[in-house]
Symmetry: C2
Subunit: 225 residues, 2 copies
Amino acid sequence: MRKQRSDGQETRQNLLTAAGEIFARKGFRDTTIAEICKQAGANTASVSYHFGSKEALYVESWRYAFTRSLSIYPPDGGIPHGAPPEERLHGRILAIMRRIIDPQSHDFDIFHKEMANPTGLLAKPMQESVEPIFKGLTLLVSELLGKEPQEPEVRLCAMSIRAQCFGPLLHARRRKRTQEPPTTCIESLPDDVEELADHVTRFSLAGIRALRPKHPQQSNNEVGS
Amino acid sequence: MRKQRSDGQETRQNLLTAAGEIFARKGFRDTTIAEICKQAGANTASVSYHFGSKEALYVESWRYAFTRSLSIYPPDGGIPHGAPPEERLHGRILAIMRRIIDPQSHDFDIFHKEMANPTGLLAKPMQESVEPIFKGLTLLVSELLGKEPQEPEVRLCAMSIRAQCFGPLLHARRRKRTQEPPTTCIESLPDDVEELADHVTRFSLAGIRALRPKHPQQSNNEVGS
DNA sequence: AAATAAATCAAATATACATTTAACTTATCA
DNA sequence: TGATAAGTTAAATGTATATTTGATTTATTT
């Protein structure tokens, strides 16, 4: 077997990164192979050659973007396993937000578009990738709440937290992209992710504590595993 | 000026309702005029005749769907102005959720797709329609929190509430459409909107109380306006 | 009943775009 | 050096679909 020409892998890479960015900005249907190839400095036929089709490129570019993003921002936020759960919650929230807000990361834009307007092409890979991250959050909430992970309260609280992470930041991303001024009250939120994460953590911890069984007053830290 | 033929307004109507449903399901780019016209029992040329273009039909069908939806589910949830703010919050949350979950209402699907993948066609009308609703929620939060509406804490809490309303229900809608079973932990949430609304209200009231200035313990109702 | 304008229709037109083709280039190995 | 295969290219092909056209139908008015 002959050694591959190095150029081949290079255009493949260029196509993947260009595709990730443009698919994230315009969605599957609105991006043309021509635009991707132009940005990647490649011929339009190269997509068919390297990936087989626009659809296959879509899937591959998402995998590529997601893997990269996850390696930069690990889901637990780098907080050690033994730290108090409040701190670990803050770490997870911050990790999600950083991942969404990073202008170099495109996987969340694609995720969002796929949620709103599914092509069906990413259903399985997204499921497999996102599920364990959400499961980690659910387990943490279960710990904070003092209930089993299957209990409806746990799932509801986990949902509340996830929703607060996604909602505001997708707006922020869009605003950054389109350069529109924050005229509306919807968009006027802090540019600083830390501030947002602090708020969501505090807000959610209060919400969780209000749903804790029995012991109404307990110290803020030190919730048994 | 002659009186219009009654049939004309009828196909116009049929086009509007068919368009609302299909645009909501497939998004602007993926729906074809042919499909809308087939469902409306009209000729493909009728869109151009009655609305001028696919784009104009898109805008009109959203306006139509939104107006209808708002008249069925008023933003304040029908709770009297004088009721305690906790109750009014619950009413607003329930109204948003009912509006999203109603299978006859398509404006929220279009809203969501437009957020994820803006055509730009709905920016102004959506802004004008949604802004006052959100402002109402912000004022209510300001009252509950005992701070001015401009304060960052008020906006953050209002965001937290909005996000909790949107997040889970868009999933629910999609699930209902595609008939997929709730295999993942993301989707396994109560089918009952009331339950969801109760949770979000309780969770959020706790979050708000935790951010109240001074007076740590105050009765649940009776927060001065 | 004839005239007029609104409304509908089947078919034609035009455009955008994914994919294919077949020729061409370049690197590797005998 | 020349054969082979990977990689690249401009142009061709085919399909999907928004919009237009010109003919036709229908209701209203005089």
